[in-house]
């Protein structure tokens, strides 16, 4: 039965992957819907079919996970109820001794101690799994019971105890009984209510769906904020005309030699896209770069490739992506940065190899043309401002500044450089608003990714999915290299290894269910991402670049797939050797 439920989950995965591949559903909608369906199916199976057997494989032994089930939840409810009932019982026992005891002040001391103890979660809570927990956003079942106990308002009761006049024994006993009665009522109010199985199922679903919707939406909050600041920075760079001027300057100084000019354009494009992104910037840069490359005889396919490899290479170091990898894979900067620099090196080798191939005499275009004057740049921009595109990357990678601060410092730097221009404040304000607007699609995607990751990490989904994924996951270095090297094109057409879609879901599953180190999983995804970033016909950048160059996205795919796939295999081999034992 466990296998059947697992297969149902994989079927949901396959259906959504197909729908995304066929572009029948947007990734923005598909990811949260998939997360919801995964959770609903697993919870229903958990409640009505029963607990799946614990995993016993090598992978499970390497990465033991507590996977508490619905039955454990029922037991947890009983345990917490019993623990609180014991506190009430202790108070009742004390109350019953009030009448018989001749020393009410001694009872008062015991009562005071019992009240103080009642607030603290005792040892009996330690064995209770904290269901639905995602601190600090969703406290979870056990934590909420503990919180209710901590919030018991016992200070007035203890003050009342100390105010009792013990000279008058009868009055003191009556007061003690009243206080004990109030204390019992207060503690009882912290007790989870007794519930039928159906009510417990309702609470179980509600708890997990609160975790999915709230905890999931907030999972990547740091990345989301970094993305918003990154968007503001990118639009400000665009609105100040910095990137445009850098490209003109490069084209002007690189002369007419195809290899030199293409290499210069590649380096500058990579540099610019380390900090900026989005289709608007691609269009802005592409509409300058592509004619320059065409004018020196590069085929439109080669020119488009130079631009797309540069964009993908720059994106590797993008601080926003870096923040996502840090948060999502739980890597430290010391672990992540060498991996990203290695990717950049592989992209550089690919880019220069591509240019060397495309700039050979035999592949250069011949023209029937007449000379015209070169159009001058729009306005002059100081050298200080021209450095702006590299500042966030320099701050993040070399000054070890975190991403949001790096973007804020860079924006402030650009404003100081441009503040004497007319309307400088207006341009800054407009850029901030436009920047926040332009990153809304990736922000929504990140919310969906957070939900999917949360759903996949819940014990019910893990219990059913883990055995199946374990059986398909690569075992050892060569399995890793073979699987991810050959499967890299599955990143195309929004496929299962797409970095910004199903790939993260696959990663989350692999991280949670296999002994592969997070760096190896990320490395495999980034390697596949090379094919997606450069060759994928469903990329909006590819669609624009192909259309502007007068070629088709299919031609672009046909010419780039082999060299990019080879580069991806090289990356997988490097990461396999480094990270997989």
């Amino acid at each position: 039965m466990t296998a059947l439920v697992g297969l149902a989950l994989l079927l949901v995965f396959a259906i959504f992957a197909t729908l995304m591949f066929l572009e029948r559903i947007s990734t923005l909608l598909a990811l949260p819907l998939m997360a919801t369906l995964f959770l609903a199916i697993a919870l229903a199976a958990d409640c009505w079919i029963g607990t799946p057997p614990p995993p016993t494989s090598q992978a499970a032994e390497n990465k033991p996970l507590e996977l508490p089930s619905f039955d454990d939840y029922l037991r947890a409810r009983e345990t917490t109820r019993a623990a609180i009932a014991a506190r009430v019982e202790r108070l009742e026992t004390l109350t019953s001794t009030i009448e018989r005891n001749s020393d009410p002040s001694a009872i008062s001391g015991s009562l005071s101690a019992a009240l103080l103890t009642a607030r603290n979660a005792g040892n009996e809570f330690e064995s209770v799994p904290n269901f639905f927990a995602r601190p600090p956003h969703v406290s979870g079942y056990r934590a909420s019971v503990e919180e209710r106990l901590k919030q018991l308002d016992i200070v007035p009761l203890i003050e009342s105890l100390s105010a009792i006049d013990f000279q008058n024994e009868t009055f003191a006993k009556a007061e003690l009984e009243k206080i004990a009665q109030r204390a019992r009522m207060a503690i009882t109010s912290a007790q989870p209510p007794a519930a039928s199985r159906l009510a417990a199922i309702r609470d179980y679903f509600a708890g997990y769906f609160e975790l999915l919707l709230r905890g999931g939406s907030l999972t990547l909050y740091a990345t989301i904020i970094a993305t918003i600041f990154g968007g503001m920075f990118a639009v400000y760079v665009k609105n100040l005309g910095i990137a445009e001027r850098v490209i003109y300057w490069t084209a002007e100084f690189a002369g007419e030699r195809p290899f030199v000019i293409a290499s210069a354009v590649f380096v500058v494009t990579t540099t610019i896209f380390t900090s900026v992104g989005g289709l608007g910037t691609v269009i802005m840069i592409g509409s300058i770069v592509l004619p320059v490359l065409r004018s020196v005889g590069l085929s439109p396919v080669v020119g488009a490739g130079v631009l797309l490899i540069g964009i993908a290479a720059g994106g590797t170091l993008n601080p926003v992506s870096r923040r996502l990898w840090l948060d999502f894979y739980g890597l430290s900067p010391e672990q992540l940065d060498p991996l990203l620099w290695t990717m950049l090196l592989i992209y550089a080798l690919l880019g220069f190899g591509w240019i060397a191939w495309g700039a050979r005499g035999g592949l250069l275009s011949s023209f029937d043309s007449e000379a015209t004057a070169k159009s001058p740049p729009r306005e002059s921009i100081g050298v200080a401002l021209l450095l702006a595109p590299v500042i966030p990357v320099a701050l993040v990678y070399f000054a070890r500044m975190e991403e949001i601060s790096a973007f804020v410092v860079s924006i402030a730097y650009m404003f100081l450089c441009a503040c004497r221009r007319p309307g400088a404040v207006r341009v800054l304000t407009r850029s901030m608003i436009e920047g926040a607007q332009t990153v809304m699609p990736p922000v929504l995607l990140m919310i969906g990714i957070g939900m999917l990751v949360t759903s996949l990490a819940t014990p019910p989904v893990q219990s059913y999915l883990r055995p199946l994924v374990e059986s398909a996951a690569p075992q050892g270095r060569w399995g890793y290299i073979l699987l991810f090297g050959l499967a890299a094109p599955l990143a195309l057409y929004r496929g299962p290894l797409n970095v910004w879609g199903m790939g993260l879901a696959v990663s989350a599953t692999l991280l949670a269910t296999t002994p592969l180190p997070p760096a190896a999983v990320l490395g495999a995804l980034l390697a596949a991402g090379m094919i997606q970033g450069i060759s994928d016909p469903t990329n909006t950048a590819n669609v624009w670049v192909a259309g502007y160059s007068g070629i088709t996205t299919a031609q672009l795919l046909r010419f780039t797939i082999v060299p990019v796939w080879i580069a991806a295999i090289v990356a997988v081999i490097v990461f396999g050797v480094w990270y997989v034992p």
Partner: protein, 107 residues
Amino acid sequence: MAFDVQSIFQQIENARISLRVRAAPLVLPGRRLFGAWDPLLRQIDIFGCNRDRSDRDLVRTLLHELSHARTGRRDESEARRAAEDQLDQSTPHDIGAIASRLREMSE
């Protein structure tokens, strides 16, 4: 070498060259393009066929690019000479017919 409408388009087809014709000239930094031969895509692009270009100019551009395709060399003066030689051997009727065909193909 004299040629006619049928033979020139047949040559292009036999050589598996794709021919695309654009109405507007392609303006690049420092130059205005009327024709381009791309050996990688095996494609000839003709630009500006509806913009003040005579039939003779249009056919010259096609012959120019075909010369590149045939020889595989990027020597512009050689291609220009080859195109002029072929034009001189052709009748105004053939030139007009080829130009009309090109204008019909324009995207």
